[in-house]
């Protein structure tokens, strides 16, 4: 018998199948549906994370003093000889002009921004509050920062007593919103706002030299962090290594007593994305268990179906069906059950993934609601798994059916 005809008979069997077969199909539907929904969620989160990653700047490196090794915090282990019981403190390990000079000698680096940071009090219309102040090198900051300006402008090279403020500070920190050209007092100096950042922070950005005068405890020429932009994003890992080697040389430290860290937003994002990947895999594995249960259901239904159709098998054999024909018809039947279950399951999964953002909206990791994305890969994978599971579950019953002797099968009532 031609395979196309076998398929026709298999389809006929599925179409006329009883409630039991539909319950079997339901098992596959649930399995495939949940796999699709979970995979779509994982895929969606991954995509939104990728988008965030590119906006964060994959070409930016931040160098900070201090280096943590596993569970050791601070720099206690980096003291080298550990002489006279002195313990290294934050103040002692600093970044300074020598480090900047060293970085300047690396040709892969495009821009270098030096930052200091501290908490200050801000006064506006008789109200005050404590916010974070960041002093930046205004000549390069506008080119290095990944945050956009919402109103006004970035800091320019000639700016002195002006600041750029975070979006939240502008909108809702004080009773009255702050805007362009408003004057505020920081500690005892007056500043004019020239720009508002498009973010939700309460930070203040001001030229580095002015920041030194505001933040008492900061020494001129000593930085809290150095931010560099590299020429070519693809070289990130290579440049990180170069920066580390260069700084270790100028700071006279080795791998064992390193006193600075180099980090990139890309590394952080990659770690997060890896974690998310494992979480998705774990959840998918749980969903896959229901697929396996579905497979057992198919096998059960196929055994019953072969029993039920024993007489029909006998009739078909009497009128010329070969073992192979019966085997193929029942295998196709099992595969079709998997396919039908898989297709309905994909629909269910797509619907579920539509509802998922509503259910997961409150999760902190999914700002503004989770995004789901049903990828073609997931659909094809789920469908093929459903069909393969169907066929595998059908192998033994179909084989048993095909081996029936026509005389015994015909006698079966």
């Amino acid at each position: 018998m031609k395979t196309s005809k076998c398929l026709k008979y298999a389809l006929n069997m599925v179409m006329h199948s009883k409630l039991r077969s539909w319950l079997t199909i339901l098992g596959i539907v649930i399995g495939v549906g949940s796999v699709i929904a979970i995979m779509s969620l994982g895929e969606g989160l991954q995509q939104s994370m990728d988008a965030q990653m590119s906006s964060l700047g994959g070409d930016i490196l931040t160098i900070t003093p201090g280096f943590s090794r596993g569970i050791t915090f601070g720099h206690k282990s980096s003291g080298g000889t550990g002489s006279s019981g002195s313990t290294a403190t934050e103040e002692e390990v600093v970044l300074d002009r020598i480090d900047v000079q060293a970085l300047k000698s690396i040709p892969d680096i495009k821009l270098i921004d030096t930052n200091i940071r501290g908490n200050v009090r801000i006064y506006y219309l008789g109200k005050s509050g404590s916010v974070t102040l960041t002093g930046v090198d205004q000549k390069v900051w506008s080119e290095i920062t990944t945050t956009e300006i919402r109103d006004g402008r970035m800091l320019g090279p000639a700016d002195m007593n002006v600041i750029v403020i975070g979006g939240k500070l502008a909108d809702s920190y004080f009773d009255k919103p702050l805007g362009i050209n408003k004057m505020v007092n920081i500690e005892d100096k007056a500043f004019r706002i020239v720009g508002v950042l498009d973010d939700s922070s309460t930070s203040i950005i001001m030229p580095l030299q002015i920041a030194y005068t505001i933040l008492d405890n900061k020494e001129n020429g000593v930085y809290d962090s150095i931010v560099v932009k590299i020429k070519n994003e693809e070289d990130l890992d290579y440049v990180i290594e170069k920066v580390e080697n260069k700084l270790m040389m100028t700071r006279h430290v080795t791998e064992n007593n390193r006193d600075f860290s180099v980090s990139s937003s890309k590394q952080f994002q990659e770690m997060r994305s890896e974690m998310l990947g494992s979480m998705t895999l774990f959840l998918t594995a749980i969903a896959a268990v229901s697929l396996i249960v579905g497979a057992v259901g198919i096998a059960n239904t196929m055994f019953t179906s072969v029993l039920e159709k024993t007489k029909e098998i006998g009739i078909m054999k009497a009128i010329g069906a070969r073992n192979k024909d019966i085997l193929i018809i029942f295998l196709l039947n099992a595969g079709l059950i998997g396919l039908v279950g898989g297709m309905i399951g994909v629909l269910l999964g797509v619907m579920l993934s539509g509802f998922m953002p509503m259910l997961m909206g409150s999760m902190p990791m999914t700002k503004g609601g989770a995004v789901t994305l049903v990828s073609m890969d997931a659909v094809v994978l789920a469908l093929s798994v459903a069909v393969i599971i169907g066929v595998i579950s059908g192998v033994v019953p179909a084989y048993n059916g095909s081996k029936l002797k026509p005389v015994d099968a015909l006698r079966y009532e």
Binding site: N12, I319, A321, R322
Partner: protein, 239 residues
């Protein structure tokens, strides 16, 4: 009108035994049956219940293999054939008509009739033409899209006859063909069978317990306790 039996045996049984194992006890259903059926014969196998006629029908129809002895279908020993070759040979050579019609319930009359041709991988166009032809022959051309459950017993048996004829088999094997029908319908079916035998030159083997039905045949073989009790010509039919 007179049918000529001129060719050699189409089916041959040589000292055939069929023994069923019932636990520790061996029950012989057929004991050393030897029989030659020539092309064009119309044979009735009769016997009381338990005489072994169903077993004989299964062996003659190549649905089962003998415990001892040989069955030759068209000079080929069925014991030498693999399952798949036997199925193909059976499909092409023998057409079955069962007491309970044995139609596939989820298929229409047409689908039931065309099935043997599809199993033989006959081209769709040829198969369709042939199936419609035999359905017309049995007078069911207007019921081809009905399922067995939508047909009367007589109509179902006529579908079964159409299915049996569609592959143009040389042998028609009918097992109690009227067993489930009333006498008028049963007579109609038998008349149809006789007509096919006469016009198409088929070999017809009919298994029945009803001696009245056996009157339609030209040779009557009576079985008793697994042995041939008598084998004689039906003088009412053969002159």
């Amino acid at each position: 009108m007179v049918h000529k039996n001129v060719s050699g045996p189409i089916l041959c049984l040589e000292n055939v035994w069929k023994i069923y194992q019932m636990g520790e006890v061996e029950v012989p259903a057929l004991r050393g049956i030897s029989l030659k059926i020539k092309k064009g014969d119309f044979i009735a196998i009769v016997g009381a219940s338990g005489s072994g006629k169903s077993t004989m029908m299964n062996l003659v129809g190549c649905l089962d293999t003998p415990s001892k002895g040989n069955v030759f279908l068209k000079s080929r020993n069925i014991a030498d054939l693999c399952e798949s070759d036997l199925a193909t040979l059976r499909g092409k050579t023998i057409g079955f008509i069962f007491q309970q019609y044995n139609l596939l319930p989820n298929m229409t009359a047409y689908e039931n009739v065309v099935l043997p041709l599809e199993l033989q991988e006959v081209d769709d166009d040829v198969a369709e033409k042939q199936a419609k032809k035999v359905l017309k022959l049995v007078g069911l051309e207007d019921k081809i899209h009905h399922r067995p459950s939508q047909l009367s017993g007589g109509q179902q048996q006529r579908v079964a006859i159409a299915r049996c004829l569609v592959g143009n088999p040389e042998i028609i094997l009918a097992d109690e063909p009227t067993g489930a029908l009333d006498s008028v319908t049963g007579k109609g079916v038998l008349n149809m069978l006789e007509k096919i035998w006469k016009e198409e030159g088929k070999t017809v083997i009919m298994v029945t317990h009803d001696l009245h039905l056996a009157e339609y045949a030209h040779n009557i073989i009576e079985l008793k306790d697994g042995k041939i009790l008598r084998m004689e010509k039906n003088h009412k039919k053969v002159h």
